[in-house]
Each structure stands twice: as structure tokens, then as C-alpha cells.
């Protein structure tokens, strides 16, 4: 793996390797000394063109726990506000010797462009590009689901995780809310499908994107019906992205109150679910809009654990992208007999 740009096309083996590695990383995070020396001397740049709290801090924590050097770059207060292009920023990062670039950008495809335009030879991790993909979020969601529903870690999430190596075959996951603007939904649909789960998207028709029929999932416009009849094992609530709803496109639903009544998750809807079901939200939450405080703080809610798992998943992604041999044999051929021997030995 050189880049992690999208969950679409990620093979099942790679996905399970990422989840298994995450499980080992998570195990190290309950120790007193959480830091590993694995990526010492590597530089990870957090290149954030969009506001973010948890994703940036999560990547920064993950990189630091693996002993990598972290450079945070946010568009605000940088040369970007003077008009520097993505290309020139990338060339600057290249000149500074970045080994991996974690990029968040408001334009769909920005991460792909950065990875494949030849500006950089660093590994690129997509931390969210427009309304396209957010692969580490989907991986941490899948990891959380696997721990709880396959690994049976218990309500507090602290039991031994017996799910290593497993997929999510047969699990039913409902993704509810603003699918149209959600890169989290897109990444999750493909990843969860790859891992064998069934996915149903639930949203008002105005918040379902054109072309959804090509996605490997079902679509419903009725939350209550889906919860009662389909009995999902996990319900993933999406944030209503009001910042993307302004402008010429107008309103997507008549009023927040009506949205909340028809698509908001609350204690009443939670009671309809099977006893083992979990409630998820990628954050940040609009309490009272897509999720009620009672549901968000309920024991079946794993929202805080998702954040903790995010660090482990991002450690795994950074490890798998950065730890291995980054040359293609050119440097190893001239390092002498010792290295040859070692390669045999190891």
C-alpha cells in the first residue's frame, strides 16, 4: 500500500489487514507507555484545507505515538491565504522531505491529485476530500463494529477482542441522515460492503445523491420502518452538514424540527433495535437535530469509543504505508552483503 485514498476498490484482504493491525495498535494504547519507536525519523505532514478537530488531532496523535515527526499545516494563516496553489504547496512539502501527507480538502479528488500528479513521492492519506471519501473514518467505524458485534468486547469496550481476522459478514448496518453531503457515508458503504455487511441508507429523498443506485447498498426514505422491519445491528447517524447547505441549492428539508421528528435518532427509536445493536456517529454531533442527547449518551452508544479507535486505525494506516521498504530495490542492491544476508534471514 502506497496511498490510502478511498475505500472503493480496497481489497478485502487489505481491509482486514488494516483492521487487524489496528487491533494490535489499540492493544498498545492501553499501556502506560503508549509510544512506539516504529516510525522514528519519518515526517508526517497534516495538510488541512478544511477545518477539523478530531481528525487532525487523531492523525497527529497517531503519528506521534509511532514516533514520527508531525508538521501541522492548516490553510488558514499559511501561504494558501495568499493564493498558493495545491501544486506549489505540494512541491514545498516535497522539498522539505515529507514521508507522508495527510490531506483534507474541500475539493473531491484533491487527495488523488496529490498522490498521482507526480508532485510528491510521499504516501498520501485522504483525511476527507469534499463529498467524496474519508477512508480512515470508515475503517474506524468498521473496526468499532467488528470489536462490538464480532469480537464481543462488552459494553465498556474493554474486553479482549476476539475478532482478529474476521470480517463483518451478515451484519446489518443502517446509515441515516445527510448522505448527499457525506464522504463518511460513501466510504462506509464501500468498505462495509467489501467486508460482507449489508448496508441500508436512510435519508429524505432530497439528501440522497444522484447515482446512488450504483452503490452496493439499499436506500430507504423511512427511518421507523427500517428500524422496525430490518432490525439493523448498528445505526450510524450522519451529521446534517448545514455548512454545505447554504447557497443557491436552497433548503433540503422544511425545518430542523421536522427533520428531527422523521430522521432524528432518540431513545424511542433506540428501544426498537435489537439488544446488541450499537449507535454510532462520526462527529461532530448536532445534538437535538440528528441525534438526541439521550441516545448519544446511552450505554449502547459507542461514539466516544469511535474517537479512541480512530487513533489506533490511523496508527495502522501510517504503519502500513510508511514502515516498509519504500524503495523499489534500487537502494537495497548496493548496501552490501550484510543486507542481503539479512533479507534472507528475516
Amino acid at each position: 500500500m502506497k496511498h490510502l485514498l478511498t475505500t472503493q476498490g480496497l481489497s478485502k484482504d487489505d481491509a482486514i489487514l488494516l483492521l487487524d493491525t489496528s487491533a494490535q495498535m489499540a492493544a498498545t494504547q492501553s499501556r502506560e507507555n503508549k509510544k512506539l519507536p516504529t516510525l522514528r525519523g519519518r515526517t508526517v505532514v497534516n495538510l488541512f484545507y478544511e477545518d477539523s478537530t478530531r481528525t487532525r488531532i487523531s492523525f497527529e496523535t497517531a503519528a506521534k505515538r509511532l514516533s514520527a515527526d508531525v508538521i501541522n499545516f492548516s490553510a488558514k494563516g499559511s501561504s494558501v491565504s495568499k493564493g498558493e496553489s495545491l501544486k506549489d504547496t505540494a512541491l514545498t512539502l516535497h522539498a522539505m522531505g515529507a514521508d507522508a501527507v495527510v490531506v483534507r480538502h474541500s475539493a473531491s479528488g484533491a487527495a488523488h491529485q496529490l498522490a498521482h500528479a507526480g508532485w510528491l513521492d510521499a504516501g498520501v492519506l485522504n483525511a476527507g476530500d469534499g463529498m467524496h471519501q474519508h477512508p480512515t473514518q470508515a475503517l474506524l467505524d468498521a473496526f468499532t463494529i467488528r470489536r462490538h458485534l464480532v469480537g464481543n468486547v462488552g459494553d465498556d469496550g474493554r474486553g479482549p477482542d476476539s475478532s482478529v481476522g474476521a470480517d463483518l459478514a451478515g451484519l446489518r448496518i443502517a446509515i441515516v441522515g445527510d448522505v448527499l453531503h457525506s464522504r463518511v457515508a460513501r466510504s462506509n458503504v464501500y468498505l462495509l460492503h467489501t467486508l460482507g455487511a449489508e448496508v441500508t441508507l436512510v435519508a429524505p429523498p432530497t439528501l440522497v445523491p444522484v447515482g446512488v443506485e450504483t452503490w452496493p447498498c439499499r436506500v430507504s426514505y423511512h427511518l421507523d420502518e427500517t428500524l422496525e422491519q430490518w432490525q439493523p445491528d448498528a445505526v450510524m447517524m450522519l451529521r446534517v452538514q448545514r455548512e454545505r447547505m447554504s447557497g443557491g441549492s436552497g433548503a433540503f428539508f422544511p425545518s430542523p424540527m421536522e427533520y428531527s421528528r422523521k430522521f432524528g435518532f432518540d431513545a424511542r427509536r433506540l428501544a426498537v433495535l435489537p439488544d446488541h445493536a450499537i449507535v454510532m456517529h462520526p462527529g461532530p454531533m448536532n445534538r437535538g437535530l440528528e441525534i438526541s442527547a439521550a441516545a448519544a449518551d446511552h450505554p449502547r452508544s459507542v461514539i466516544v469509543e469511535q474517537v479512541a479507535n480512530g487513533v489506533a486505525v490511523r496508527m495502522a494506516a501510517l504503519y502500513l504505508l510508511l514502515a516498509g521498504d519504500d524503495s523499489t530495490g534500487s537502494t537495497s542492491s548496493n548496501t552490501g552483503s550484510t543486507s542481503t544476508d539479512e533479507r534472507i534471514a528475516l
Binding site: 509510544k35 514502515a323 539479512e342
Partner: protein, 250 residues
């Protein structure tokens, strides 16, 4: 609970080829102590230097040595290094429990992947599991830790293991048990308990085969490796983990 069994085994290890390296006659004759008569597979340069009974005897002796050296088994903690070190730790723990009724029979595994010094020279390796016995409550402070590995070679795995231990706590003593010591150390590290000292040439490969990991009978096999250059192919596919993991020679 064997983390090693999940690891992708190398699909195409460099095939043992006779050829450019002259057959290592000195080392072949310098280990006559084994009761398993050295046998050669026709067609390849592989020979078995330890058989099932030899391995069992060596482990029993090591178990006795551990108890003798530490004057009992108090605070003793066996930690196997994946893949085959874990199985060996398991077998040693069984023997120790027979010798010393006070010993719990528990053992742990210590994955050293993230502490290796050669991560950047290798295709990405899968990270294994580190499991401490539940009774320890997650700490190894003041324990007598015996690291268990199958083959002691350059010493680099053990260096990584010492770093990994350091992050888990502060043991009172760390000792090392290896089924085979094949020499060619690159670091100032030695084993406290050795099943068999095996003089080898660098061009040879020592493989430990254990019934519960590899199937078949337990054995230690030496084979010739095609010399330099062939193995550089291992850098090809960075997404597959642990080329040569099944060889476990370090």
C-alpha cells in the same frame, strides 16, 4: 491464540538451490552429537540436524536449567517471540509446570515487529500480537523474564525484543532461551539457554519446523540458499507482509 498462525506465510521463499556455494562440509561434520543421523533429502541440500526426540530432550534440559539458574520458578515469565518462539514457550511452560508445581504454566507472546531496525529495508510486515498472561495485570515489573525464540542468529530480533520489553515495564532479569544458536552475531547478545549450538555458514538457512505450526514432525533443517542477488526480489510487493517469515532464521 497463536498469533503466528494468522501471519501470511511467505508464498514463494527463495527455493533452496545447490550451486554457487560449496557444500558446507565443515559445519556438516562438526555437529555429531545429535542422535538423529544427519540425513540429506535427495535433490536439495537440506539436512535434518535435530529430530523430534532431540528437540524434546533439549527443551526438557532447558526447563531444568531455567529452574536451576533461578533457584525455582518464582516470578518467572516465559515470553515467546512469534512465530515459533511462542510454541516453544508453550512447551517449556508445560515442562516447567511438571518440574515446579508452583509454576502456573502460563506464558505470553512478545511481538517485536514494531521495534525492528530493518523495517525500512523490508516489505511491510504484519504486526503480531503481544499477549501477557492475564494474571499479570498488564505489568512485567520485577519479573524474571525468559525470552524464547527458535533460532538465534544476528541478535537483532532479541535487541528489538529488549526494546519491546522496556516499553512494557522493568523486569528484574531478562534471560534468553533459543532452540538453536547458529552464530554470526551482529550485536553483543548471547543466549542463557541453548538447545543446540549449530555452526553454520552465512549462506545456509536454518529452519525450525514444529508440528503445531508447520504440521509434520518437529525438526531443525539446514539448507543451502542460493547466494546473493536472488533474494532482492523480496522488495517487490510492499503490501504483502513478512516475506520469509516462515524461515524464522533470525
Amino acid at each position: 491464540m497463536n498469533p503466528g498462525s494468522r501471519m501470511p506465510e511467505s508464498s514463494a521463499p527463495p527455493s533452496p538451490a545447490s550451486g554457487t556455494v560449496p557444500s558446507a562440509a565443515p559445519s556438516a561434520t562438526s555437529s555429531p552429537a545429535s542422535s538423529a543421523a544427519p540425513s540429506r533429502d535427495p535433490g536439495t541440500a537440506a539436512r535434518t540436524v535435530l529430530g523430534e526426540a532431540d528437540i524434546a530432550r533439549a527443551l526438557t534440559r532447558i526447563a531444568h536449567e531455567i529452574v536451576e539458574r533461578n533457584k525455582g520458578a518464582a516470578d518467572l515469565l516465559l515470553l515467546g517471540i512469534p512465530t515459533r518462539g511462542v510454541q516453544l514457550a508453550h512447551r517449556l511452560a508445560e515442562r516447567l509446570a511438571q518440574i515446579e508445581p508452583t509454576f502456573s504454566g502460563e506464558y505470553g507472546t512478545l511481538d517485536v515487529t514494531m521495534y525492528r531496525d530493518d523495517l525500512r529495508r523490508q516489505p511491510t510486515r504484519a504486526v503480531g500480537q503481544t499477549v501477557l498472561p492475564g494474571s499479570l495485570d498488564g505489568t512485567i515489573d520485577d519479573k524474571v523474564v525468559v525470552l524464547v525464540d527458535d533460532v538465534l542468529f544476528s541478535g537483532r530480533t532479541i535487541r528489538a525484543a529488549l526494546d519491546a520489553l522496556n516499553d512494557l515495564g522493568r523486569p528484574r532479569v531478562v534471560q534468553l532461551a533459543a532452540l538453536v544458536d547458529r552464530g554470526h552475531r551482529e550485536l553483543p547478545i548471547r543466549a542463557d539457554y541453548v538447545g543446540k549450538n549449530l555452526p553454520t555458514s552465512r549462506s545456509e538457512r536454518v529452519r525450525v519446523r514444529l508440528a503445531d505450526v508447520d504440521g509434520g514432525a518437529d525438526s531443525v533443517v539446514i539448507s543451502e540458499v542460493a547466494s546473493a542477488g536472488v533474494s532482492t526480489g523480496s522488495t517487490g510487493d510492499a503490501s504483502t507482509a513478512s516475506t520469509g517469515e516462515s524461515e524464522a532464521t533470525l
